[in-house]
Subunit: 527 residues, 2 copies
């Protein structure tokens, strides 16, 4: 395999189509240089074609056997690995991310596909429920009632810039939607069109190898919002997965709500992920916490949804040591290439706005770097200003964070109640902090999707218990997660069958449990 | 207990408050007479007070033990039964529904509360997931990750007119929200304020008897949309349950989406519930099907969400017999008192509009009755007109239905694809119809929440496998059900705990499974 894999073409069903609505080039953010090839951007007619194929594929794809669907997900993983170093090198060129990080992310992405394959095979996601007929019941007999979950329909997926594999063309949204039985139409992120084409072609090959209908997967390139809006507005699309900015996510929410048939939008948008330094922990290891905080803040140029953008502490022993150690570590932190010139500029604007704010002091700044390298920044403000000014509560995407010194526990609790919805909250605590932590927990449970103790929020495990989600505005829908196996549920809905003849019943609901899956019979879970 | 139970007062937490924003009287639809007493309608300040109490109660209520919460639901059921005949007689006076129907509905309502109590005790709804730490894993260790579902927050419930018990103050939305751990603020339906006060007071007594925070439940009266909009817009309300018209439901959807923090709306709105008469069944028992159809259509004056408002058949043997038998039965059907003068007038307008439509023929009309008695009506139109004119596809709430004779199976399939989302679809079929049914099923699965064979859609079992829901516009959210135990999930969201000390972990996630609930450990379901 080599560079000839990059043709600039979209993937619409089984075809490779060169879009005719303008051109797109990737940029190497470490140099600002334009990369080959030229990508052709799609038209609304291309959106229409992809959605028509997805709708045509839907009924057949959602009824594939558990084994067949699982094998498809595994084949996608195999095809991604088969791209070899071409994929990693293109990703390095398009994102400025280092090889180690990208190889790790590729492993996470293929692992995610294989994990969803195991979920599909296990079959609990069908949530089969059987309430057998009670013909003798008084005063009225009960019919035979059986319920399963089926796929929602074709899903539009919008990849993120910061995870070119794990939250992109074959990332978590695509994996969970395909696992649920939904065809997927991906709008590629313009920051990494080459990676998108390579991975899109890998998925396309997997569709063909597995003998699935071509419409199970399409990949579109497009400028600005035109293609995205057309995609979300297409009546054949039944749900949307998105990871990106709050502006982008809320625009999709509005478009989806304005349709004649509104559809769910799963948008993972923004968070500042408060870290609480509780008094005993701070007194015991303020300096160590300061160093560890900066390591989490600056990792990957801070370009994580779960980056610790807010540190909360009660003024007291250890806090000065924390600040001194963190400031020292931050001052030594190298500038790192950011994902795109646009992200770099937004970061510079965001940190400059904070630095110029009359209620904000700059605590430390990192090293200066070359073009498009983000200079880490750490600020302090006070609780009243933070509560009063929503701009102080907004995410600055990148290695930027704000410290608030609270007078006492009461102010810390009040501040917690004033927080917007968040992906995570982190408690740095020792035994002496348990009582305060217990006071804070109910608030945090209402505000966030994941609560950590004595760790750092960056790093999201792909597993069964993960929640990468949270109340609005961290996501559009706090009832779900975009990482972990529960994500499959976003793309399912229940259907009930009443007194259906055995010949018409779905296999998952047949007498004798031929799929050997967990089923709830008369309310009792059994296998 | 006697008539002094009716005071015209709202229930806000532990108090009984006479609203000062205008007066409301119930009307006996069988006579048009105004009933005593006068109900005082609430202000936005009353909404604010109810929501403040609900928010204050939330953290404590959502952490009640499984037993305590189940006992609360059972106590509500007991308190409703303790109202005795006062409740039934008031309901008869306010709704025009007969005693037998109301006694049955009361049993369904208390049974629903007891079923949710059993669901709460069983504990699967928590969906506990544990992924134990893997400290030795390479290249990175895995943290200890545990997930549970917690309640969303205070829920606003809007009762329906047609089920004064089962879809009202202590109906399915309230029962499932309370089961999930959400405080509930009910806006009473103005058609049955007396029943609402009686049941609201019963819930209030149950709150007190169980020693729960007063804000767990409030009941408001209000005019028009003002109270409803204030309730849905209140920032402390985190979800909405509604059963009623499409206009009412979509207005709530808009209000909820326009909030600074959008929230989910579970609105069950409208459906025409197609019934398919497949050829072999029709040939074998056309006349019997005609009679059974009319029995389903006219039951309860046709005032059911699942009323069969559309009959689809391929022209052929048995269809004339079906039409003749149905027309004969319908012509003999007594007019029945409708729920409210407003519903009666909408029904008259709807049937008159159909009768006057130039592509519609009237097949039969029922008996004429006294004031506010709906006269059943049956119409025929053609497939092209039905597909072209959305007004022909709208629900006429009451005993009104439309027949479409299709030329062939292809037209029947095309018509099915043109249907809006529905609560139910019913197949009348014999062995000779299995092939055609198999062709139709994928479309029906995409269009409806419940598929029945050889039954009638009216009558919704409260059980584990029921789906009373369906794609938009039958509901606002086809991913759920408003009847059956799955309804609890509407009011839950997942939270993940990472490396939390044992002292801080919720009991449901503690080592050793002290609640003895089903949990998923490393992906494997176990108890």
């Amino acid at each position: 395999m080599g560079a000839d894999l990059l043709t600039g073409r979209m993937r619409i069903g089984a075809e490779a189509i060169l879009g005719a609505e303008g051109e797109l080039r990737a940029i190497d953010p470490s140099t600002g240089a334009m990369l080959e090839p030229v990508f052709g951007m799609g038209s609304t007619a291309d959106v229409d074609r992809a959605c028509a194929l997805a709708a045509a594929a839907f009924d057949a794809y959602r009824e594939t056997s558990l084994d067949a669907r699982a094998a498809f997900l595994e084949t996608i993983a195999d095809e991604i690995m088969a791209l070899g170093d071409v994929l990693i090198e293109r990703a390095m060129a398009e994102t400025g991310l280092p090889r180690g990080r990208l190889e790790g992310e590729r492993g996470r992405t293929t692992g995610q596909l294989r994990l969803f394959a195991s979920v599909v095979r296990e079959g609990s996601w069908i949530e089969a429920r059987l309430d057998p007929a009670l013909p003798e019941r008084q005063p009225l007999p009960r019919a035979d009632l059986r319920q399963r979950h089926i796929a929602l329909g074709p899903v539009a997926v919008f990849g993120a810039s910061n995870f070119p594999f794990a939250f992109s063309v074959a990332g978590g949204d695509t994996a969970s939607a395909l696992a649920a039985g939904c065809p997927v139409v991906v709008k590629a992120h313009n920051a990494h069109p080459g990676v998108s084409e390579l991975v899109g072609a890998a998925v396309q090959r997997a569709v063909a190898k597995c003998g699935l209908p071509e419409g199970v997967f399409s990949l579109l390139f497009g400028a600005g919002n035109a293609i995205g809006t057309a995609l979300v507005s297409d009546p054949r699309i039944k749900a949307v997965g998105f990871t990106g900015s709050r502006g982008g996510g809320t625009a999709l929410m509005k478009a989806a709500a304005a349709r004649p048939e509104p559809i769910p939008v799963y948008a993972e948008m923004s968070a500042i992920n408060p870290v609480y330094l509780l008094p005993a922990a701070l007194a015991a290891r303020g300096a160590a916490l300061g160093k560890a905080f900066v390591a989490s803040l600056t990792m990957g140029a801070g370009q994580f949804c779960t980056n610790p953008g807010l540190v909360l502490a009660i003024d007291g022993p250890g806090l000065d040591a924390f600040v001194a150690a963190a400031a020292e570590a931050l001052a030594a932190a190298s500038a790192q290439t950011m994902l795109t010139p646009g992200i770099y500029e937004a970061f510079v604007n965001g940190t400059e706005r904070l630095a110029a704010h009359d209620r904000v002091q700059t605590l430390a700044q990192g090293q200066v770097g070359s073009a498009y390298c983000g200079r880490a920044a750490w600020f302090e403000t006070d609780a009243e200003a933070f509560i009063a000014d929503e701009h102080l509560r907004e995410e600055v995407f990148g290695a930027s964070s704000v410290l608030i010194r609270c007078r006492d526990a009461a102010q810390l609790r009040a501040l917690s109640e004033a927080l917007d919805g968040q992906l995570t909250a982190t408690l740095q605590l020792d035994d002496g902090d348990l009582a305060l932590a217990r006071e804070l927990l109910p608030t945090l449970e209402r505000k966030v999707g994941r609560i950590l103790a004595n760790g750092w929020p960056t790093g999201v495990e792909v597993c069964h218990a993960m929640v990468h989600g949270g109340p609005y505005p961290s996501t559009s829908d706090g009832r779900t997660t975009s990482v972990g196996t529960l994500a499959i549920r976003r793309f399912l809905r229940p259907v009930c069958y009443q007194d259906l003849p055995a010949a018409l019943l779905p296999t998952a609901l047949a007498d004798g449990n031929p799929l050997n899956i967990w089923r709830r019979v008369d309310g009792v879970l059994q296998q």
